[in-house]
């Protein structure tokens, strides 16, 4: 049964992937990408990777299609059919593929319980985590404690991405559009049904986010998933009730500060252990009893993760939708202009000044 | 004042001169006074090393280790001292001459010019007193780099082209071959310091040694062995004092001196004789001599002709060194000195003619002897010195070179040397002779008119007189250097 499900899912994944590669309508491609994410989440489920499935569902089928769609709204929906470098690509893909296939020949069998991967490090987690950390969800304990530093890195990665997007899309003095209010984003919100449904939905979503956040030790979930869900709820709100409404709730500045705060919470929790001469991220220093210490530590850092992830996601959503509204503002104001004002205008003008400097 | 600190001084004076020149850049006279004083001081310091050297004292200075076992260190040894003496003496004269020339010619950036002059002489001192190949290489490159701006002093496109060839060949050979050879030697012999009798173990394979020798001889591009001689004529775009310094004293002599020193103190006479490569390098040197002389014959531009004559004369020195007999070595060492004096005089004359009469082509010089008797006499003497006939010191070096070929039974080379001497007569002597007895020239009418040609500015004339006198003096008293050379070989 499980095997069949497995095969079916993989087959579906294959089909989806091919059709994504095939299709020229990027909008559809984005949707298919979402489906791809959902399918892989399902696959992870069958593999017993519940947390991963959860996350992949939230990211692969949630955030990333959303972002892609927002981008498409700005960049146009259809791609031009051209296969540049097709030959090179094929050659490269074939070589890499061949290498990979050859690599599989020496691999341990799929699902083999005595594969080296399962007998060296992993058993320690499975058998010791309860006594050492005292929470049932092994993944959480590995994630937050044994390999807590990776997770710290992960938070920083998200933070970095948020800042990167910020640095790319932040409103510069050259950009107009702040004044314009009538944007597609607002127009949606005239739909009464949507408003009501949203009103009803948002509260439980937030609540669920909190549940996922703090239930992470016992069941699937944790800071990251919670953060994503929270962000999704908020983004929904901003879509229905408008960017400005959302900004009134959580201003751009606040979101930035929060994103930083999350990282700092995580880091400082790690630093606390210096006080009692323990190593970085050694939570056992947080309380008399080491297990309690671990427990507290995990709760706190998961909170940090949640805050950062949520705020970064919201920040990114803000920035993307902000672009969207600018775009529409420009289309509304200066249709006659060939290139949209803003970034290109600025960059070309700087180009000009550069060359003046040279001449 | 003990000797080693004298040596330090000899190395530092040029730097002090550089500082002084930079500081007094604003006031010309002071600046040039500084140059002159520094030059004299340097010469004096070097002479002070002479006697102790002959008394067999070891005078050495160790600056610092760049890499473990690779030191910037200096030691006075006879040949080096000889080279240093010649260079530092001629630096005084050249400076004197340069002052006259640069003013007479109204050149730009004189401060830069004199500063680099000082640096290059400093580099020459470094080469002369280097205790090991590494130190030598360092200063060799310094010399290359600091003479580049001198060559391209004019800053015109032509100058830039010349500079390119100059730098290209000198850097190319030194980095491509010389450095490679040095590192190989380092790994092979475990040391780079010069030792009488060479540093290679007796059992080193002759093939490898041949490769090294070839690399060395070609690597020292400053020795201008064909086919790596192109930079020399190319560098003729430089102002004449530079040409004088480059082609008589600093650069080319540094080159042949390095070759000589490598033959003598890295390989050693015995090893050298046993290497197969020596023989055909000899013939290459011979060919270089002959070809250069022939090309020189066909040059109409005076400086170009002198340049090719230099190439051929350098061939003599390399050849002497490669002969690997004491007579040959002596000859080549002596020729370093003699050619230095002779050739610098010739360039001084060329420069004087340029400044005074604005002439650069050979055929324009007919009858110039009347307007510029001193210059032309000097030219005559110097030519004789280069050719190697009395009453000039050139006689000695040529004599020993012949002896060397005779001893080692290289009849072919012997004949070759004779031929090229005849050639050198053919391309040098006509110039002064025509100047004196070449009869009248249309230009003659100009005499008496305000633009009449007369001798070059006094400093220049003094300079070329002194060096010409030097050529004669060396016939009578070659002993000064001869003693050093015998001590060295």
């Amino acid at each position: 049964m499980e095997l069949l499900l497995d095969i079916a899912l993989l087959a579906l994944l294959l089909v989806t992937a091919i059709s994504i590669a095939w299709i020229k309508d990027l909008f559809a491609a984005a949707m298919l990408a979402g489906i791809y994410g959902l399918l892989s989440a399902g696959f992870f489920m069958t593999m017993g990777a519940v947390d991963v499935a959860f996350t992949e569902a939230a990211v692969g089928a949630g955030i990333s299609p959303l972002l892609i769609l927002l981008t498409l709204a700005l960049c146009g929906r259809y791609q031009r059919p051209d296969r540049n470098r097709a030959r090179l690509a094929t050659a490269l893909v074939i070589t890499v593929g061949a290498l990979l296939i050859s690599a599989t020949t020496d691999m341990p069998f799929f699902g083999d319980a005595n594969a080296p991967a399962h007998v060296h490090v992993a058993p320690h987690y499975i058998h010791q985590s309860m006594s050492e950390i005292g929470i049932p969800n092994i993944v959480t304990s590995v994630l937050a404690s044994y390999r807590g530093f990776d997770t710290f890195g992960e938070v920083v990665v998200i933070f970095t991405a948020g800042l990167g997007v910020l640095s790319l899309l932040m409103e510069t003095s050259a950009q107009p559009g702040r004044a314009i209010v009538h944007t597609q984003v607002e127009q949606q919100s005239r739909d009464i049904v949507l408003r009501v449904v949203a009103k009803v939905l948002i509260a439980p979503i937030m609540l669920y986010a909190l549940y996922v956040q703090f239930h992470g030790e016992y069941g699937p979930g944790g800071g990251f998933q919670a953060g994503v869900i929270f962000a999704v709820g908020f983004i929904l709100y901003s879509m229905v009730f408008g960017l400005d409404a959302a900004r009134r709730v959580a201003s751009h500045g606040l979101v930035q500060v929060l994103s930083a705060t999350g990282v700092l919470i995580f880091g400082c929790t790690g630093l606390l252990s210096f006080a009692s001469g323990k190593n970085f991220l050694d939570y056992s220093a947080l309380a008399g009893n080491s297990v309690t210490g671990q427990h507290i530590g995990i709760i706190v850092i998961e909170l940090g993760v949640g805050i950062t992830v949520a705020s970064v996601m919201i920040m990114i959503a803000y920035l993307f939708t902000g672009q969207l509204r600018n775009r529409e503002a420009e289309l509304a104001t200066d249709r006659h202009q060939e290139i949209p004002a803003g970034a290109p205008a600025r960059s070309t003008s700087t180009m000009h000044s550069l060359e003046q400097g040279a001449g | 004042m003990n000797e080693s600190s004298l040596l330090q001084l000899a190395l530092l004076i040029p730097l002090l001169a550089l500082a002084g020149i930079q500081l007094t850049a604003r006031r010309e006279n002071v600046r040039e006074a500084v140059s002159l004083i520094a030059a004299s001081a340097l010469f004096f310091t070097v002479t002070q090393l002479y006697q102790p050297m002959l008394d067999g004292q070891t005078i050495a200075v160790h600056w610092l280790d760049i890499l473990p076992g690779l030191a910037l260190a200096f030691r006075v040894e006879p040949l080096g001292l000889m080279f240093a003496l010649v260079a530092s003496f001629l630096w005084i004269i050249t400076t004197l001459y340069a002052i006259g020339y640069m003013r007479g010619h109204g050149e730009e950036n004189q401060t830069r010019f004199f500063s680099l002059f000082a640096v290059s002489i400093g580099a020459v001192m470094g080469i002369a007193f280097a205790e090991n190949l590494f130190t030598l290489f360092v200063f060799y490159e310094v010399l290359t780099l600091c003479t580049y701006p001198l060559v391209t002093h004019a800053g015109t496109d032509k100058a830039r082209q010349g500079g390119r060839t100059y730098l290209g060949i000198l850097l190319g050979t030194s980095v491509g071959f010389f450095l490679l050879a040095i590192i190989a030697t380092w790994l092979l012999a475990g040391t780079l310091s010069f030792q009488p009798g060479g540093i290679f173990a007796a059992d080193t394979s002759a093939v490898l040694l041949s490769v090294l020798l070839v690399l060395f001889v070609f690597g020292v591009g400053k020795a201008a062995i064909m086919p790596f001689h192109r930079w020399l004529p190319a560098a003729m775009v430089a102002p004449t004092p530079v040409s004088a310094l480059l082609h008589a004293v600093a650069v080319v002599k540094a080159g042949v001196f390095v070759v000589l020193k490598i033959c003598l103190l890295i390989f050693g006479i015995d090893t050298l004789q046993s290497i197969p490569a020596t023989n055909w390098l000899l013939y290459l040197a011979g060919a270089s001599i002959l070809l250069a002389s022939i090309i020189a014959l066909r040059q109409q531009n005076l400086k170009k002709r002198l340049a090719y004559s230099t190439v051929s004369q350098l061939g003599y020195i390399t050849l002497g060194a490669l002969l690997a007999t004491s007579a040959g070595m002596t000859g080549s060492a002596l020729h370093i000195v003699m050619h230095a004096f002779g050739k610098i005089t010739l360039f001084f004359c060329a420069g004087a003619i340029l400044v005074a009469a604005h002439k650069t082509e050979v055929h324009e010089l007919r009858g110039l002897g009347r307007q510029m008797p001193v210059t032309m006499t000097a030219f005559l003497v110097a030519s004789l010195c280069i050719i190697g006939i009395p009453p000039t010191g050139g006689t000695w070096s040529k004599w020993y070179l012949m002896l060397g070929t005779f001893e080692s039974g290289q009849w072919v080379l012997m004949v070759l040397l004779m031929i090229s001497s005849l050639l050198s007569i053919a391309y040098l002597l006509p110039i002064p002779l025509q100047a004196f007895f070449g009869g009248r020239q249309p230009l003659e009418t100009e005499v008496g008119s305000p633009t009449a040609i007369r001798e070059a500015p006094l400093p220049s004339v003094i300079a070329l007189t002194v060096t010409a006198a030097g050529c004669v003096y060396l016939l009578l008293y070659p002993d000064v250097f001869y003693r050093l050379i015998t001590a060295g070989i």
Binding site: F43, I68, T71, A86, V139, G164, A358 | -
Partner: protein
């Protein structure tokens, strides 16, 4: 035998290659990014397959269970997923800016614009004063 034990890996490899192909061959920047997503996601699938243990349960300790699937790959992939979405977000933001700057998100147009600009600037400099002779 090999089939039943390895088909998982092979499918994953196929998925990876599709993704990689898209990244290289597609001219549209957004499509490239989607390709990148597929490529990475399939790597995740590979990792999770490695973590699979026959009859193993989700790695959440429960009474009377001894066989769990390997938690370590799950942890790694949780991190990797986050990295993936981070990259995607950044890439998309870049795409938006590129669209604004070049007015297109097709590789060809952009490269064409590049060459044009390059030529323009060199012509601009060709007009600067010629060198002086001394």
């Amino acid at each position: 035998m090999l089939l039943t034990s390895h088909y998982n890996y092979w499918v994953v490899i196929a998925l990876m290659m599709i993704g990689l192909y898209m990244v290289i061959a597609q001219g549209n920047l957004v499509k490239k990014i989607i390709g990148l997503n597929i490529f990475q996601t399939s790597v995740f699938i590979f990792y999770i397959s490695v973590g699979k243990v026959d009859g193993g349960h989700a790695p959440i300790l429960t009474e009377g269970e001894s066989l769990y699937s390997n938690p370590l790959p799950h942890v790694l992939i949780l991190t990797a997923i986050v990295v993936g979405i981070a990259t995607t977000a950044l890439a998309l933001a870049l795409t938006i800016r590129i669209k604004r700057a070049y007015g297109s998100i097709e590789e060809r147009d952009i490269q064409a614009a590049e060459e044009l600009q390059e030529r323009a600037s060199s012509q601009m400099y060709a007009r600067t004063p010629a060198r002086k002779e001394q």
